[in-house]
């Protein structure tokens, strides 16, 4: 049984983009099993489905009449994860003088069974050479001279076993007489070890030849029943400086090559792949000058330390020669590569907003949301809602929610799963999030929206997009016209994408921020823009977009929180070269934008805010107009409070403006919030009994020099309280008051300017 509804049918889909302008097109790729047909509909999303309840807005999706709507024949489209390097073949190369392949290898999961290091073997003709690690961790080769020669291929295992998480230099030569010789030398991890050398020899009886197909590293290429080429026998670990010689290298020559290290060129090589070239791209360059250049597939991790990484630099741009390794994973996936099933031409008159493709088959349902942007010639509203697609990407297919021992403990609640969540167990090939580890335990650093994403949807728990639709529902209830743009658009277009708007409203959780987004929001605010940050844990961590693949991003965790930290060599993004980490660690704290920054989280119960004396300041009077309550948000759909889940507070040392008014602060958070502080800071607690509780969300307001202003709530849960009592409550009133003033063109004045 794969889901608890006892349904064998499953439908999954993704789109080629997360936003589209009116008049543009968006492609949907759909796969379906266990049903003959599926139904497709395009819907506009006005409110999420987050359960019944007197205070919960009803689910509102509007079915739209489009040519793609209707029944379609079900087609199953497989996903083949696993990263590798692919080099076009040369139609079978004869090797009258023999052949040698040399490389450095660092296996990270020997238990995965046979794993391919290098393959110039062609299954169809059974000709060529492949080097692999067998199920016992031993080096082996497959050799074949082609079925025409008789005898087909043979597989041979050496006695040389590789060690996990250690570098080894390997050379394997195949002589014209069929003798195969293995040479291996461990590369000491530190100066207190001596290298270990091993040799083995066996008689294969087959003369070497390169197969007519492509050369691959990190996987072998197979073909499925539908004729699709795909990786198989995928390797987990790092490979560095692969060299190919069209002759036999003897033991001395191999030892000499090993001794020169990965950064030195090798004279006379037929091919010499140097992965320190083009780390920011997907090329695999041949430094021999013979033109055996290739490409990486499925985004193996680049910008990782090689066997010679000295610790002298954490930026691969400084010492690329120490970053000549590529880390391959059997579960890497950059793009599911499905055929387009439906192409939607978005009519010119569709209003900007949140939409989705909705796919149903045999009781199963799957949504693929997207934003319709305002027309290219300008905005249609004074408010723009910024959909956090970078954060959705970082969290896409958050598998640890299901597989982690700790999920229930850190949430203080039983884990709640539905059938869409369980797709991650049924179809693990849909890949992981940047909060997950690969099967070999290394950190996932790349994520892609070009695959089915189970947690980007309008139904289910109050979380991410589903929660952000509560903000959409609030704007709809208020009758406030708004446009929607995504992080991807803001990163690409910069401040001009938001400049025409009077007010930008954030999502509930705009955590992952590219440099382009950070710059754009900062520039917008300097220019007099107004920002309603009605979320928590915002502007927290750097995210890097792939320069040529929209919807693909990278996260390198180099600092707090220490959970999921990447290995110490991986200080910089491969996509951009930028340093990775939290924006605090990068010197641009979220406090510089929103006035507040993340402090802790807890997922068991949310709390409330208590107003401060500053809320009576005349500058803040518009915020509390008609609100007499001292306690704000002691209710809500999200665990009964407006303050919680992830919360932010002020910090003058990190950039909270001196003139900011903290108009309310939360209090009385649960034990779980202590736990995260411990995990984050791991230091002795503040012992000054007069010090304010550090575990709090601060609600704050400040004016900016350009006539703009910022209002922040510093809490993910805030948007879960807006609909309480039919939007007649103090969180909705505060939000309404702020939005109304922020839409008033009258400039805000800096407090000093009045004197």
């Amino acid at each position: 049984m794969w889901n608890l509804a006892n349904s064998e049918a499953a439908v999954m889909a993704y789109a080629d983009r997360q936003s589209v302008r009116p008049g543009g097109t968006i492609d949907f790729k759909v796969s379906c099993i266990g049903a003959d047909d599926y139904r497709a509909d395009i819907v506009r999303l006005l409110s999420p489905a987050v359960g019944p309840g007197p205070h919960t807005p009803s689910f509102r999706e509007v079915e739209l009449d489009t040519p793609v709507g209707g029944e379609h024949p079900a087609v199953y489209q497989p996903i083949y994860p696993g990263s590798y390097v692919l080099i076009p073949g040369r139609g079978g190369t004869e090797l009258p003088r023999g052949f040698t392949v040399c490389l450095n290898v660092y296996p990270t999961r020997l238990e995965s069974g046979r794993q391919t290091l290098f393959s110039a073997f062609d299954d169809r003709t059974e000709s060529g050479i492949a080097l692999f690690i067998d199920g016992n961790g031993r080096l082996g080769v497959t050799l074949g001279a082609g079925t025409d020669e008789g005898g087909g291929a043979g597989t041979f295992h050496s006695r040389i076993a590789l060690e996990e998480n250690r570098w080894t230099s390997v050379a394997v030569s195949c002589a014209p007489d069929g003798a195969v010789r293995f040479h291996a030398a461990s590369i000491p991890s530190n100066l207190l070890e001596a290298p270990r050398r091993e040799h083995d020899e066996l008689a294969a009886g087959r003369a070497p030849v390169l197969g007519p197909g492509p050369i691959s590293m990190g996987a072998r290429i197979a073909t499925d029943g539908e004729g699709r080429a795909h990786p198989t026998s995928c390797f987990n670990g790092r490979i560095e400086r692969v060299r190919m010689f069209d002759r036999v290298l003897d033991r001395t020559e191999a030892a000499d090559l090993f001794g020169r290290g990965p950064a030195a060129p090798a004279e006379g090589a037929l091919a010499d792949w140097d992965f320190s070239i083009g780390i920011d791209g997907e090329d695999a360059a041949d430094a021999s000058g013979n033109g055996w250049d290739g490409r990486t597939r499925n985004l193996p991790t680049r910008g990782v330390g090689g066997s010679n990484w000295s610790g002298g630099a954490k930026d691969w741009r400084e010492r690329p020669e120490e970053y000549g390794a590529i880390h391959f994973h059997e579960d890497d996936l950059s793009d599911a590569g499905w055929d387009t099933s439906l192409t939607l031409e978005v009519p010119d008159d569709w209003p900007s907003g949140c939409y989705a493709g909705r796919f149903r088959a045999g009781g199963a349902e799957f949504y693929t949301p997207f934003a319709v942007l305002p027309p290219a010639d300008g905005p249609t509203a004074e408010v723009v809602f910024l959909l956090p697609t970078a954060t959705y990407c970082a969290y896409a297919n958050l598998r640890i929610r299901l597989t982690s021992q700790w999920n229930e403990l850190i949430h203080g609640r039983l884990t709640v799963l539905d059938d869409t969540d369980l797709l991650m167990l049924r179809f693990p090939e849909i890949g992981r999030s940047t909060y997950d580890s690969h099967t070999d335990g290394s950190t996932v650093v790349y994520s892609s929206m070009h695959r089915p994403v189970t947690n980007f949807r309008p139904k289910g728990r109050i979380y991410k997009f589903c929660q952000d639709l509560l903000i959409v529902a609030w704007l709809e209830a208020e009758g406030v016209p708004f446009d929607v743009i995504t992080d991807d658009d803001l990163d690409r277009l910069g401040a001009e994408a938001v400049a025409p708007y009077r007010t930008v409203i954030t999502s509930s959780h705009p955590e992952y921020i590219s440099t382009g987004i950070f710059d754009a929001v900062e520039s917008y605010l300097r220019g007099g823009g107004r920002l309603m940050y009605i979320g928590g844990n915002g502007f927290w961590h750097r995210f890097a977009y792939h320069p040529r693949r929209p919807g693909v991003g990278e996260v390198r965790r180099t600092d707090l929180p220490r959970l999921w930290i990447s290995d110490v060599s991986q200080g910089h993004h491969s996509f951009t070269g930028e340093a990775g980490g939290t924006w605090i660690g990068l010197g641009r704290a979220p406090q510089m934008i929103t006035g507040v920054g993340f402090v802790t989280q807890g997922f068991d119960e949310c709390s409330y805010y208590r107003r401060t004396e500053a809320s009576r300041d005349e500058r803040a009077s518009f915020i509390f107009e008609g609100v007499d309550d001292e306690i704000i948000g002691g209710f809500g759909l999200l665990q009964n409070g407006a303050a919680g889940y992830e919360i932010d507070r002020t910090d003058a040392g990190l950039g909270t403006p001196a003139h900011a008014l903290v108009v309310a602060s939360s209090e009385n958070h649960s034990n779980l919030y202590d736990l995260m502080v411990g995990a984050l800071e791991d230091t002795l607690p503040v012992t000054d009994p007069e010090a304010p509780d550090r575990i709090r969300a601060d609600m704050l307001f400040f004016e900016t020099p350009g006539g703009g202003a910022v209002f922040s709530v510093g809490s993910i849960a805030w948007s879960g309280s807006l609909s309480y009592n039919g939007y007649d409550n103090n969180t909705a009133a505060v939000s309404r008051n702020v939005l109304r003033r922020f839409l008033d063109p009258a400039p805000f004045e800096m407090p000093g300017a009045r004197a």
Binding site: W2, N3, Q405, L414
Partner: protein
């Protein structure tokens, strides 16, 4: 002084003094499954909740978003969802927490907590 807990504290051995006789902890949990707990109750909950993923309880959210069905993960790899025969169905998530608390209490101490 605030006691700062770290992840390494969690799910460790049950602290001394916590056993079947601490029906006060069961009563405290019954009264308030979510929110701030006493240090001893929190330690007991961390222990109960920090066990291996295999065999662990979870709640399956039925498709109308108003019912939670108790389920568990498989006892051994591969990790799969397992229905529980005649599984209890809850329309109040706090009741689900109380039910699982009692099951785990019984697993730890041999019998469900007595009312205190």
């Amino acid at each position: 002084m605030t006691k700062i807990r770290t992840a390494s504290d969690a799910a460790g051995r049950l602290p001394p003094g916590i056993g079947a006789h601490r029906t006060d902890l069961a009563a405290e949990f019954r009264e308030r499954p979510f929110g701030r707990h006493s240090p001893d109750l929190q330690a007991l909950l961390d222990h109960m909740r920090g066990g291996p993923i295999h065999g662990k309880y979870f709640l399956w959210l039925a498709d109308d978003h108003s019912r939670w069905v108790l389920a568990r993960f498989s006892d051994s790899p591969p990790l799969t969802p397992q229905a529980i025969p005649d599984a209890p169905v809850f329309d109040d998530i706090e009741e689900a927490e109380r039910y699982v608390f009692d099951r785990r209490w019984a697993d730890l101490f041999g019998a469900e907590p007595e009312a205190s």
